[in-house]
C-alpha cells in the first residue's frame, strides 16, 4: 500500500492507505482524529467538513491521494482549547443538542466567515444549508454565525 505524507493541523503525518481511501477515514481510523464525523459519505450532510487550504471541503469525498502537501485543518486544529471566535459563539449561544454535526457546522461557518466577514441573515442561511442538523438547531446555528461575525471583525 502506498504511503502518503499529510500536513494536518500544522503537523506532518505519514499514513499507509489505499489511494482511494477518503481523507475522512484516514483521519478517523488511521490517525484517531475522530472530531471529524461520518454522516453520509456522499458529500450531502456536511458532518465531515474540514478545511483544505482554508476552503471548507467534504472529507468523505476527498481521496487521500489528492491532498498531499495541502494544508489540512480539522476541528481539533481550529484552535487550542476551543478559543476560535466561531467556537466561542457556539458556546455562548449554547448551540448543540446531540452535537454530532457541530464540528462540521463550525468548520463550514469558519470558512464562510473568512470569505464573507459581514454576512446578512439570508447569506448565513444559504451558506449553512450544506450542513444538516437532524436535531434542527438551525436557529442557534444562524445566531451563532451572526455573533461570530461580530467577534471576528
Amino acid at each position: 500500500m502506498p504511503i502518503y505524507n499529510l500536513k494536518i493541523n500544522g503537523q506532518s503525518h505519514s499514513v499507509e492507505a489505499d489511494q482511494d481511501t477518503p481523507l475522512l477515514w484516514v483521519l478517523r481510523d488511521h490517525l484517531d482524529m475522530v472530531g471529524t464525523k461520518f454522516g453520509c459519505g456522499v458529500g450531502q450532510c456536511g458532518a465531515c467538513t474540514i478545511h483544505v487550504d482554508d476552503s471548507a471541503t467534504r472529507s468523505c469525498l476527498l481521496k487521500v491521494s489528492m491532498v498531499e502537501d495541502m494544508e489540512i485543518t480539522t476541528i481539533e486544529g481550529l484552535s487550542k482549547e476551543g478559543t476560535h471566535p466561531v467556537q466561542q459563539a457556539w458556546k455562548e449561544i449554547d448551540v448543540p443538542q446531540c452535537g454530532y454535526c457541530q464540528a462540521g457546522q463550525i468548520m463550514s461557518a469558519v470558512a464562510f466567515l473568512k470569505q464573507n466577514p459581514k454576512p446578512d441573515t439570508s447569506e448565513i442561511r444559504d451558506a449553512m444549508s450544506g450542513n444538516i442538523c437532524r436535531c434542527a438547531s438551525y436557529n442557534r446555528i444562524e445566531a451563532a454565525v451572526a455573533l461570530a461575525a461580530t467577534k471576528t471583525n
Partner: protein, 717 residues
C-alpha cells in the same frame, strides 16, 4: 408552600454514603428509580461501580461538588438539567459543580436509562430529595460540631451558618457528614427560593462538542478491534440464496467474511476497507413471499379504513346515533408516509463475545433490554452480558431498538473477534425501523350548529396508537366520541419515531378542527376553547390533558402571535396539542414566494410545568418545531417491491438551515412538576403549517409531505 416529602421507600435504601480515602464524601444514589443497594459506595473514587448505584455525588474537602452521571447524552440536555436538580437542593453555586461522565471501561454493570421526554418528570422529586438529604447531613455534621440544634442552622451557596453567626463550608464537615445516619425526612425548597432551577445553564458538554472531543459510539475503538460492514437483503421479505465473497476477501485489509442468518458481514482493519469489501460481495436473494410496495400498502390502509375490522379503544355515548341524527357529517382522510429516523450518527455497535462473557458498547437508549435480548440470542446467562452506552448522535426513537447490537454480538461470536458494526448512511436508511405509514379518517356530526359526535379511525402498519392517546383532546369534550384502530401487518419493520403516532395524528386532528370551524362558521380558536369548557371539572380519570392548561397555552399563543392581526402577506395557522404530559400551542406564519408557501416563523407556547433550564428547554422546543415542520413539508419515503426508494440524502430531503423557520418560544409560569420537552412541540407543528397554508393559498392539505400534496382534493369518505 413547603414541600415535606415522606418517601414511600426508606431513605436508607435510596442513598448511601462513604468517606472517601482521598478526602471528601461520596453519596451513591439512583437517577431514575430507587434500587436497594446493600453495599456502601467505594472509598476510592476510581472504583465507582455503576451497578450498585447509577450515579454518585462527591463533595470534596474544598467544597467542590462532582456529580457522576451515568447517562450519556442523546441530545435532550438531561445531562445538564438532572444535576441542576441535585445542586439546587444541595444549595451550592453551579460554578462549584462539575458534571462528570461515569467511566466507560467498568466491567459488570447495566445502567438504566429513561426515554427522553420522561427523564426530568421522573427525576423531579428523587433528585431533589437526594440533594436535600445530602444538604441535611452536612447541616447535621455542622450542628454536632457547634453543639446546636440542626434546625437552627441554615445554608447558603455551600456555607452553613448558625444563629450565633458561626459559619462552616461544606468541605469542612464532609468527613463527619459521611459517617452520620441518613435523615428520613427532608424539606424541599419552596420553588420561589430556587437559585439554579429556572436559570439558563449551558450544556455541560458544550466545550467538548465545539472542540470535537466528545466521543460517540462511532468513535469508540478498542485494541485489536475489526470493523464490520454488513450486507442485508435489499428488500424487506427477501432471503439470502448464496454469496460469492471471492472479490471481497482479496482486498488488502479485509480480514474475513461472516455469514449470519440472511446477512453477510465483511470484517476489515478499518471502516473504509470493510465498506469496500461489502460492495465487492456478490449475493443473490430469493423471494418466497409477496414483496410490498407503498401503493399496495396505501390501498390496504384505505381498505381497512373503509372496512369493519376495528378494535375500539374508547367509546363515549353513541356515535352511530349521533351521526344518524346529524344535520351534517364532515368526514376527512389524512395520510402519512413511512419515515426513516436519519440520526446524524449512523447506527453502530461494538461487541466482544468470548467464552467468559459478551461485552457490548455503543449508542443505545435501552441497555438493559438489549442485554437481555443479546443473552437470549447467544443463549448466555444474562449475568455474562453487559451493554455499555456511549454518547449518541441523535435517537428520535431509532436507538430504542437494539437490532444493530444483536448483529454485532452475532458477528463477534462467529468471528471470535472484538468487532464494531458500522452502518453506512445507505444501511441506516434502508435497514430502518420506520415510522409506520398511517391513515386517519375523522368524522364529525353536526346538529343545530354544534358538534355532537366525533369518530376517529386509525389504519396503521404493524401496530396502533398507544393506549393513552384516545384520552387526549377532544376526548371528554364531545358527548359521542369513539376511537377505533385497525392494523395491517407488514414485513417492513416499524417502530417509535419522535412522538409516536401523535407526530401525525396531531396534524390530522388540528387540520380537521380548522376545517370544522370553517364549516360551522366560527373562529378556529373559539371552537377549541368552547370544546375545552366542556371538559372542565370532568370526573373522567382517563382524560390525560388539563383543559385549563390547554386553554391557557391557547390564549397566550393568541396574545403573543397577534392572532388575526398579521400584517398583509403573512398568513397564520393555529394548532394546540397535548402529549407527553406537556401542553403546547403553536401559530405558524407563512408567506408566499412565487406562489409557494414558505414557513417564516412559528410562535410556540409551552406549559411543561417548572422550566428547569430555559436555555436547554428552548433548544429542545426550537428543534422539535423545526423537525415537525421539516418532516411535514418534505418527509417522504416509499418502497417498491420491498426496496426503500431513498438510501441517502442525495434524494431524501431533510429540512436545512435556509428553510428553517424562526421559532419564538414562550413558557407559561408554573410551579407544577416538570414534564417532557424532547417530543411534544413536534406534533402541533404540521397542523399549524397546514392551516397557515390554507389561509395563504386556500388549499387544504390532507397528506404528507405537503410539498407533494398541495393540490389534493378533499378525500371525502
Amino acid at each position: 408552600m413547603k414541600d415535606v416529602i415522606t418517601p414511600s421507600i426508606s431513605r436508607r435504601s435510596f442513598i448511601k454514603t462513604s468517606a472517601l480515602a482521598g478526602g471528601g464524601m461520596l453519596i451513591g444514589f439512583n437517577l431514575f428509580q430507587a434500587c436497594k443497594p446493600e453495599v456502601a459506595p467505594p472509598v476510592d473514587i476510581s472504583k465507582l461501580n455503576f451497578n450498585d448505584f447509577n450515579a454518585f455525588i462527591k463533595i470534596a474537602d474544598n467544597g467542590m461538588v462532582t456529580i457522576f452521571s451515568p447517562n450519556p447524552e442523546i441530545g435532550q440536555g438531561v445531562k445538564t438539567s438532572m444535576p441542576m436538580l441535585i445542586a439546587e437542593e444541595l444549595d451550592v453555586l453551579w460554578d462549584r459543580v462539575i458534571v462528570a461522565q461515569g467511566a466507560l471501561d467498568t466491567k459488570n454493570f447495566t445502567r438504566q436509562v429513561a426515554g427522553g421526554s420522561q427523564s426530568l418528570r421522573q427525576g423531579w422529586e428523587p433528585l431533589r430529595q437526594t440533594g436535600a438529604t445530602a444538604r441535611q447531613m452536612l447541616i447535621n455534621a455542622a450542628a454536632a460540631k457547634w453543639g446546636v440544634n440542626p434546625s437552627e442552622c441554615t445554608t447558603n451557596n455551600g456555607v452553613i451558618s448558625n444563629a450565633n453567626g458561626d459559619t462552616l463550608g461544606y468541605g469542612d464537615v464532609v468527613k463527619t457528614a459521611a459517617t452520620l445516619e441518613i435523615p428520613e425526612n427532608v424539606t424541599l425548597k419552596d420553588p420561589k427560593d430556587f437559585k439554579i432551577i429556572g436559570k439558563d445553564i449551558p450544556n455541560v458538554d458544550v466545550e467538548k462538542i465545539i472542540t470535537g472531543a466528545s466521543l460517540y459510539g462511532m468513535d469508540y475503538k478498542e485494541e485489536g478491534m475489526l470493523y464490520a460492514s454488513v450486507l442485508r437483503p435489499p428488500a424487506f421479505g427477501q432471503k439470502l440464496a448464496s454469496c460469492d465473497d471471492t472479490e471481497a476477501t482479496v482486498i488488502d485489509g479485509v480480514h474475513s467474511v461472516v455469514k449470519f442468518g440472511d446477512k453477510i458481514a465483511v470484517l476489515a482493519k478499518d471502516t473504509w476497507t470493510a465498506m469496500k469489501g461489502k460492495k465487492a460481495l456478490k449475493a443473490s436473494w430469493t423471494t418466497d413471499t409477496q414483496l410490498e410496495s407503498t401503493e399496495g400498502i396505501e390501498k390496504a390502509l384505505t381498505d381497512l379504513l373503509n372496512g369493519n375490522k376495528f378494535e375500539t379503544l374508547r367509546a363515549d355515548g353513541n356515535v352511530k346515533k349521533a351521526f344518524a341524527q346529524a344535520d351534517k357529517v364532515i368526514e376527512r382522510v389524512y395520510e402519512s408516509p413511512f419515515l426513516p429516523h436519519n440520526c446524524m450518527e449512523p447506527m453502530n455497535f461494538f461487541a466482544e463475545v468470548t467464552s467468559d462473557r459478551a461485552r457490548l458498547v455503543g449508542p443505545i437508549q435501552t441497555p438493559a433490554g438489549t442485554a437481555r435480548r443479546v443473552a437470549r440470542l447467544l443463549e448466555r446467562d444474562p449475568e455474562e452480558v453487559s451493554v455499555e452506552m456511549t454518547r449518541m448522535g441523535g435517537g428520535f426513537g431509532r436507538r430504542l431498538y437494539g437490532d444493530f447490537a444483536l448483529e454485532a454480538a452475532e458477528i463477534s461470536k462467529i468471528s471470535q473477534k472484538p468487532i464494531k458494526v458500522v452502518y453506512s448512511r445507505e444501511d441506516d436508511m434502508s435497514a430502518g425501523i420506520y415510522r409506520p405509514a398511517i391513515k386517519y379518517k375523522i368524522s364529525a356530526s353536526i346538529k343545530d350548529g354544534a358538534i355532537t359526535g366525533y369518530h376517529l379511525k386509525e389504519a396503521s402498519v404493524n401496530s396502533n396508537m398507544y393506549g393513552l392517546i384516545p384520552n387526549f383532546f377532544p376526548a371528554g369534550a364531545i358527548e359521542n366520541y369513539q376511537v377505533d384502530v385497525a392494523n395491517y401487518n407488514s414485513k417492513i419493520t416499524t417502530g417509535a419515531w419522535r412522538a409516536p403516532y401523535t407526530n401525525f395524528l396531531s396534524f390530522a386532528e388540528q387540520s380537521f378542527f380548522d376545517e370544522l370551524a370553517e364549516v360551522l362558521e366560527v373562529d378556529t380558536i373559539k371552537l377549541r376553547l368552547d370544546l375545552l369548557q366542556k371538559v372542565k371539572g370532568t370526573t373522567d380519570e382517563r382524560i390525560q390533558y388539563s383543559p385549563e392548561r390547554l386553554e391557557n397555552v391557547i390564549k397566550v399563543a393568541v396574545d403573543k402571535s397577534g392572532w388575526g392581526k398579521a400584517k398583509s402577506g403573512v398568513y397564520q395557522g393555529f394548532s394546540a396539542y397535548y402529549c407527553h404530559n406537556t401542553h403546547v400551542a403553536e401559530v405558524a406564519e407563512v408567506v408566499l414566494q412565487n406562489d409557494a408557501p414558505v414557513v417564516k416563523k412559528v410562535i410556540c407556547v409551552v406549559d411543561c410545568g417548572v422550566v428547569v433550564n430555559p436555555l436547554g428547554a428552548k433548544n429542545q422546543i426550537e428543534g422539535g418545531v423545526i423537525d415537525g415542520v421539516g418532516h411535514a413539508m418534505y418527509g417522504d419515503f416509499s418502497f417498491k417491491e420491498g426496496v426503500p426508494q431513498d438510501q441517502n440524502f442525495t434524494t431524501y430531503r431533510l429540512i436545512r438551515a435556509n428553510e428553517a423557520p424562526l421559532v419564538e418560544t414562550y413558557f407559561v409560569d408554573s410551579d407544577i412538576a416538570p414534564t417532557g420537552l424532547g417530543e411534544p412541540t413536534l406534533p402541533p407543528a404540521g397542523g399549524a403549517v397546514a392551516n397557515a397554508i390554507k389561509a395563504a393559498k386556500g388549499i387544504r392539505i390532507y397528506k404528507q409531505p405537503f410539498i407533494k400534496n398541495m393540490d389534493t382534493k378533499a378525500p371525502l369518505g
